[in-house]
């Protein structure tokens, strides 16, 4: 389904992503771990086409999405939703509008510019908000919400896009444990219910082990581990995280894992 072949991205001398290949055959939830600066964000951004890769190809349903130009590129971005660490909502617009912006790609420019959303669009957005427990905030401005709420709105916006692939760049890094759990559970639920592949950059090892079916470890822009979570030994993990190991292992003690240790089994 998704096949990443020898992708590299250089910033001048810095090899942010270096000759990375990933093959995703069936829909799965993938966690990417690594210390900061390992190139995790850059990898996701090249997949979404926010940044252009230096070399390599990314095949999705046998099409090289790096060759897409203009309209095709925008349509790819519509199919490949992205969730950010800082939520990247529009702070001064209300929550509902923020969610409906996920449909921008399918709207005509004039209609979008005048904010003439159809009642289907409005109700679809409301349904999504309801699903993630955010309905009551629909008419509030996004900037008035807490971080966890904003991230859930961002997930609603992503779902509004009707994506075939979801990328999440450290979605819980700036959230408190409870909200972190809610967000991770939401992503897992999306994957389980709709069979959408989710690729998620995570900083804490434990979260990755809890929620993902497959873990990819990155170090200096290269993949150093790619297997089932159970295959990741503590020693390997320490190697991947290097000096940040203690911080990454600390996640074990947060509530993310406490109550949801068995989420994968129940799902």
């Amino acid at each position: 389904m998704l096949k990443i072949n020898n992708i590299s991205k250089y910033f001048d001398q810095v090899k942010a992503v270096n000759n990375v290949s990933i093959n995703v055959e069936n829909s799965s939830m993938i966690g990417i771990i690594g210390r900061s600066g390992a190139g995790k964000s850059t990898l996701l951004r090249t997949i979404n086409r926010l940044t252009d890769a230096t070399s390599g190809e990314i095949l999705f349903q046998n099409q090289n999405i790096l060759d897409f130009k203009k309209k095709d590129k925008l349509e790819w971005q519509k199919n490949c939703a992205m969730i950010f660490q800082q939520f990247n909502l529009v702070p001064r617009l209300d929550v509902l509008t923020n969610v409906m912006l996920g449909k921008l790609n399918e709207m005509s420019t004039v209609r979008a510019s005048l904010k003439l959303f159809t009642s289907e669009e409005r109700h679809a957005a409301l349904n999504l908000l309801n699903k993630f427990g955010m309905m009551q905030t629909a008419l509030q401005r996004a900037e008035t919400l807490s971080g966890g709420q904003q991230q859930r709105v961002a997930i609603c916006r992503a779902m509004m896009q009707d994506p075939k692939l979801i990328l999440a760049d450290e979605p819980i890094a700036s959230l408190d444990p409870l909200n972190a759990r809610l967000v991770m559970e939401s992503l897992r639920k999306i994957h389980d219910e709709q069979n959408i592949t989710v690729i998620c950059n995570l900083h804490t090892l434990d979260t990755a082990k809890q929620y993902c079916d497959r873990i990819i470890g990155m170090q200096n822009g290269e993949i150093v581990f790619d297997d089932l979570p159970s295959k990741l030994t503590n020693q390997k993990a320490r190697e991947i995280y290097g000096a940040e190991a203690d911080e990454a292992f600390e996640g074990t003690m947060t509530s993310v894992s406490l109550e949801s240790a068995d989420i994968k089994k129940t799902a």
Binding site: M82, F87, V90, P91, L104, S113
Partner: protein, 284 residues
């Protein structure tokens, strides 16, 4: 160790003293330069002025006093003059409003192309910035007089001149505001497959609109003054009325018009301050 420390303090103190001395010298030089500029400038002014400074100073109150005397003598009729010139005043305010509106629209278009975070092509950015620099460097009067000469007396030349200047002046402020806007929402929309214009419309404009409105209100106030002055040189409105009554030396009417102008400017000042306060407060 101990002696090392002493030495360290000494050098630090020496450096501090040297810095203070340097600052003192700079301040001294700038004060001297300003004094020199003032004295030589005023000397040149005195030499080239038609009347001398002292005589002028003593006559400073003569003209206003004469005017007020006439206004006082005309009694109740004076109030009628105030109403007589109200339509001219409205015409001037409308002139300013119209040109501010369209100046702001052009400024918005220009500023999008002059913002580095929206346009990746450096040449387009530089070109738009230079264009704005040129647009706002011409005094309105220069452009207005040329157009007045080419198309005869009307309000249009003044409107054109003010629109041109406003587009340049606001464009610069607008593009600065856009460049200071948060990039995260822009990226967020980009990742959804929003086009360039859609990103501008939904990620940039909502962020900058309070600032834009407040700048535009400030401009409106400036433009009311400008359109009065342009009226004075032939572009209609209350400026032209003022110029006419000054030629005929109708003291009472001069005072009536000046009264209207001052009231307008002061109330506009307060009104726009109030609105801007609300907008900025809203922003927080």
């Amino acid at each position: 160790m101990y002696s090392d420390n002493i030495l360290g303090f000494e050098t630090i103190e020496k450096n501090l003293k040297a810095m203070a001395f340097k600052r003192l010298i700079y301040s001294f030089i700038s004060i001297l330069a300003i004094l020199f500029l003032l004295s030589s400038g005023l000397t040149i002014a005195e030499e080239n002025n038609a009347g001398s400074f002292q005589r002028g100073l003593s006559k400073f109150f003569d003209y206003p006093v004469d005017l007020f005397k006439e206004a006082f003598e005309s009694g109740w009729r004076w109030y009628a003059y105030v109403f007589k010139y109200l339509p001219d005043l409205i015409s001037t305010i409308n002139m300013a409003f119209f040109s501010t509106l369209f100046g702001a629209i052009f400024a918005l278009l220009l500023s999008l192309f002059a913002s580095k975070n929206l346009i990746k092509n450096q040449y387009i950015v530089t070109l738009s910035r230079r264009t704005m620099d040129i647009l706002r460097s011409f005094p309105e009067l220069v452009i207005a007089m040329i157009f007045l000469y080419l198309m005869g007396k009307s309000e249009l030349p003044a409107v054109i001149a003010i629109v041109i200047h406003t587009a340049g002046a606001l464009g610069k402020l607008f593009s600065e505001a856009i460049e200071n806007a948060d990039n995260k929402p822009i990226e967020g929309l980009q990742s959804c497959g929003a086009s360039w214009w859609q990103r501008v419309r939904f990620a940039v404009i909502p962020q900058v609109v309070p600032l834009f409105i407040s700048y535009t209100l400030l401009r409106l106030e400036i433009n009311v003054r400008a359109s009065t002055i342009l009226g004075f040189v032939g572009a209609g409105g209350i400026g032209e009325a003022l110029s006419a009554v000054i030629q005929f030396r109708y003291g009472d009417e001069i005072i009536a018009i000046m009264f209207l102008l001052v009231i307008t400017i002061i109330s506009l000042d307060y009104f726009s301050r109030f609105l801007r306060g609300r907008l900025i407060g809203d922003n927080k």
